[in-house]
Amino acid sequence: MPALSSPSDIAVSLIQVAKSYGAVEVLQPFDLQVAEGEFVVLLGPSGCGKSTILKMIAGLEEASHGEIHVAGELVNYVRPRYRNVAMVFQNYALYPHMTVRENIAFPLKMSRQPRLRRAVIEERTAEAADIVDLTPYLDRKPAQLSGGQRQRVALARAIVRQPAVFLMDEPLSNLDALLRADMRTSLLDVHARIKKATLYVTHDQIEAMTMADRVVVINAGRIQQIGQPHELYTAPANTFVAQFIGSPRMPLHSLTVSDDGALRIADATLALDAAVVLEPEATVTVGLRPSALRATDSVSACFFGEARRRDYLGSDSYLEVDLGDGASAMVRAEADTDVRPGDKVHVDAAPGAIHVFDEAGVRICGASVGQRER
């Protein structure tokens, strides 16, 4: 991630920005800074307000509160076309009556700068088409292109403007899984080539984790956590992030701290990673990261339980294991494991497997299994 060393390195700066429609608050005040060349992903479920953030930066929605700076300039009251941002829409938004060439050249023809000469427009259009491998299709209409090609036209139309910031609103969500993986790579290649700040909205955690320098997790109009993908995975700020990131989903269990201040799941006592003292009788939530739990033959393993279900994923399998006392975990096993529902399983927990959250769902610290009673 590029370091935010000086204000001139910052491409987008949002200061206490909020959005509400009448009395309905769709985005609570938040701060976000995006460095030059940084790829920031806004991740969250549908309707959480992530697209609204892009629209406010683009000028298609007005911020109800706060300041929006693009390339060091306050743009709250600047019209979209003067904001020096380009946006790629989820549903492409290509002009169907124009050819690919005309679509890409459209922003240049609309340019308010001293009128661009025809030769310059042609040159820059060809260059943008080349970046996204569309040169052979320049004279086609959008209807004659595949989904992936249409999305590349939309991308080229954004590139051709040479904006300070790229805004991408779920650009790949309409493509099939295979094409999406390809386009992810192409997008990153393009990003590496043009090195412009990019804000990318998605609800797909895989896209977020694989593409982002930093991820902003949003839920119900509230920023949950901002961090690098690794940070979100290993130290989720709260139960929402813990469950939203990672597949399968992290199961959560509500536990009561015992009188002696110890925390137990079934027969295992947890040792907290940090020097935190839990109040006796306090209620906490414990999450077990499935990918860090492993079915094992070792009797000295951390947990012991009974397999309830087995999900075969090809590369490996996941077992749903009943740990006792109402707690259960999703546990990784070999793809060809011979454990069947009803079998007894030992479960090993790697570091980072166990996360402890307070009653409000905010992370307290990680934990490991200290000892087992049986």
Binding site: L60, P80, F89, P142, R157
Partner: protein, 296 residues
């Protein structure tokens, strides 16, 4: 390609039954449907053919019984009289000019107003739309007298303006244009807005091309309505040479004598320009949908 009727029917039947789950129609049912269609065609065509026939006969031979469908000899006198004794060419020109001007101006105004009502946020948008809608409900007969006074006050009686301006105020086209434009996804305009297009450029370069099929329909509708309009031109224009076709032709009748041959010739001649316009515009009806703009 199979040549016989049976082969063709079989082909149609097999592809038809493959495409639909219903059974192929039986032969008597097909025959019956043809009979019904032919009756329909006859009902539509006979009056027109009778007009053609009448226009080519002397009025005196009109009332022979049984009627002669095919005139013998063909009599061109009705057409000669139409063009020699009456300013029929002027009427045609006036009608085409007025209908053309009204159509062009109306398409322009209606689409701009429709765009504003469909896509722009402004205070009182609903109120304005409601007002337009209410004005549709006012019958033309209630408007004619006040309209006459307004036009007279403006000193426009007996001018082309008197024929062109009042129809422009009909709000029906605005609603049609609005409904076409509402269907265009907001993302397209947002995208154009970010690309640097002004509101007028979005209207002209994005919206208008995309609603072209709708505009053709609205244009034809307006043109037809104007081409056949009668009451208002009758009141607004007195000079025979400023008249439009509908009024001019109706003036060919007199209280005591109906020259059916001349009237038929005039009707036939009046139908030719609008038929040509239809043929010219037909190509533009080709659907120009949004395919490719967005993910289907």
């Amino acid at each position: 390609m199979p040549g016989t009727y049976e082969d063709e029917t079989r082909e149609v039947e097999s592809s038809g039954s493959a495409a639909r789950s219903g059974l192929p129609a039986s032969r008597p049912a097909i025959a019956l449907s043809y009979v019904i269609l032919l009756v329909g065609v006859a009902i539509a065509l006979v009056p027109f053919l009778y007009v053609v026939s009448t226009s080519l006969k002397e009025t005196t031979s009109l009332f022979s019984y049984p009627p002669d469908w095919i005139p013998s000899p063909i009599y061109w006198g009705n057409f000669e009289s139409l063009f020699a004794d009456h300013p029929f060419v002027w009427w045609t020109f006036n009608t085409l000019f007025v209908a053309g001007a009204v159509t062009v101006l109306k398409l322009w105004f209606d689409t701009m107003a429709g765009y504003a009502l469909a896509k722009m946020e402004f205070t009182g948008r609903r109120g304005v739309a409601l007002l337009f809608l209410l004005s549709v409900a006012i019958p033309i007969s209630a408007l004619i007298i006040p309209l006459f006074f307004v036009v007279r006050y403006l000193g426009l009686l007996n001018t082309y303006w008197a024929l062109i301006l009042p129809p422009l105020a009909n709000p029906l086209g605005i609603f049609m244009a609005r409904s076409f434009i509402v269907g265009i996804p907001d993302n397209l305009e947002d995208s154009a807005r970010l690309d640097g297009a002004s509101e007028f450029t979005i209207y002209r370069k994005i919206v208008l091309p995309l609603i072209r099929p709708g505009l053709v329909v609205l244009g034809m509708f307006t043109f037809m309505l104007q081409y056949t309009s009668f009451i208002w031109p009758l009141i607004a224009v007195q000079d025979s040479e400023r008249q439009v076709l509908a009024v001019g032709i109706s003036g060919l009748q007199s209280a005591f004598l109906q020259d059916w041959g001349l009237l038929s010739a005039a009707m036939l001649a009046a139908a030719i320009p609008i038929t040509l316009v239809f043929l010219l515009v037909q190509k533009a009806f080709v659907v120009n949908d949004l395919s490719g703009a967005l993910k289907e």
